[in-house]
Amino acid sequence: MKNILEINNVTKFYKNSVKALENVNLNIKEGEIFALLGPNGAGKSTLINSICGIVNFNTGTIKINNMDIVKNYRITRKMTGIVPQELNLESFETVWNNVNYSRGLFGKRPDHNYIEKLLKQLSLWDKKDSKIKELSGGMKRRVLIAKALSHQPKLLFLDEPTASVDVELRKDMWDVVKKLNEDGVTIILTTHYIEEAEELSDRVAVINDGKIILVDEKDKLIKKLGEKTIKIELFEPIEKINGNLSKYNFTLDQTNKIISHTYNLNSNTTDITELLNDVKKDGYEIKDINTEQSSLEEIFIKLIKENNNELVRN
């Protein structure tokens, strides 16, 4: 699949000499949902704002559809839409005017049929004549999405799309994002809800202190860095782990009935069949088996911790 976005060695300093981005390199494939993860202040929004032309970056190049975003800003900006993190809207304007205004800004001739379809798709049609100040937070978030899509962009940036929205609305938003992606829109979202990245994205990048520290496919990442724990519940309690089981680094819980072994999904050091055979060989009767896999969140925390430790060392 071809790259729709190519970021090469982008560095950004703010006026107070604070380095917000440092040699960022990133390629986004057409049609994917890409999640940019990072703690607060890591540089997620600055990167998105640099791509969209909201802030100037100092060095490096950014290309959309193989076109430089500075030299060809008229073409590339028509291809991008952005949903900001904050609910930045004109409170006294109606939904209809707000969305049509956005379409006009992006140089598109008025198309009331398309805007109607868009508002219906986002369940905003009933509210088209309502003023923004009369809408709930969730509705405002939808208006922002409608505005970002009003000019039919190919590349949509969602900056913390579900920040401070309730669980139900978050799931609703996820459905909207999935539907947009099915319709052919490439989506880049920043989030610190790992659950969101896990649910939506095809690939993930982790950014910390202005640097991209990892880019990988979500499933591969979980597999590569994820750990799995096998918990075996025995019929009878045991006092100590010994015999064949001592080679597995098992831990025993407080009831003395559940033994747990954690292993890396990527390593081939643990053979589950052999492990279960060893349990049987030692004469234990298995009551139940349970496995738990580490989530993207645990991987993310681990990565950031490692990166921060490295930064302190340097």
Binding site: Y14, R74, E90, Y101, G104
Partner: protein
């Protein structure tokens, strides 16, 4: 050119004017009426004529200039500062619009509003005094050029202001005094020689003088100097805005 983008900004701003039409028009109409009552009746009873023109009629161009200057500045500064304040500016910055197109949309709307208000004041003035316009084209030339120039000036204030208070400082502390001391309500020939010379340092004097010439063919300074002054301020504003935009509008850094 992104004409749809310029139109979107222009219509968006004019829509705000329409929403607040009563406040937008009531304020200049009431102020003009008060000026006629205070200056026209109270002072006009003592100063009957200046340069052969009835005092009430004489002050009309000055009053229009006062309103045009303050309205152009406040409309443009507020129009650009407000999206900065609410952070809705992100959309304009992310849109495929050049800096020239952004300025054209905002300044065009601010100048249009001022022109409408200017015309309303001329109509209001007609209820109180006889208003004669000897050179209507010249009058429109000055009216349009002044509206655009001071809307550009307001745009600069909108770019640099750090708060709503910042929008008010220059109009209150600089523009209004310059207009009052620029011969809006008197001819500088009525001042002592020293103050006449000091008045000549006031650029607004030249605008009012040129504008008054288009009404009654009377002026404190030559028409050429008036035209040159307004064009100089216009070019100054354009250069300043171009420079600021080239540095990233102060909001892109």
């Amino acid at each position: 050119m992104n004409w749809y983008g310029i139109k979107a900004i222009y219509i968006h701003e004019m829509e705000r004017f329409r929403r607040t039409l009563f406040q937008s028009l009531a304020s200049p109409i009431i102020t003009t009426s008060l000026y006629f009552v205070v200056f026209g009746s109270a002072i006009g009873s003592r100063i009957t004529e200046i340069d052969g023109i009835n005092y009430g009629s004489y002050i009309v161009p000055g009053m229009i200039m006062l309103t045009i200057l303050t309205q152009s500045i406040s409309n443009a500064s507020f129009a650009f500062y407000f999206p900065r304040f609410t952070n809705t500016i992100y959309e304009i910055l992310a849109a495929p619009l050049s800096s020239f197109e952004i300025v054209l949309g905002f300044v065009g709307a601010a100048a249009s509003k001022s022109l409408i208000i200017g015309c309303v004041i001329i109509l209001t003035a007609n209820f109180f005094v006889d208003v004669r316009i000897d050179h209507p084209l010249l009058m429109m030339f000055f009216l349009i050029l002044t509206s655009i120039t001071f809307a550009l000036f307001g745009f600069i204030i909108g770019m640099y202001a750090e708060g709503f208070e910042g929008l008010q400082i220059i109009p209150i502390l600089i523009i209004t005094p310059l207009v009052f001391l620029g011969g809006s309500f008197y001819s500088i020939n009525m001042l002592p020689e020293f103050w006449q010379k000091i008045s000549l340092l006031n650029p607004v004097l030249y605008l009012i003088s040129g504008f008054r010439y288009s009404f009654y063919e009377v002026s404190d300074v030559s028409l050429f100097t008036s035209t040159l002054t307004i064009l100089t301020i216009l070019i100054g504003c354009i250069i300043f805005i171009t420079y600021t935009f080239s540095k990233g509008y102060r909001i892109k850094d």
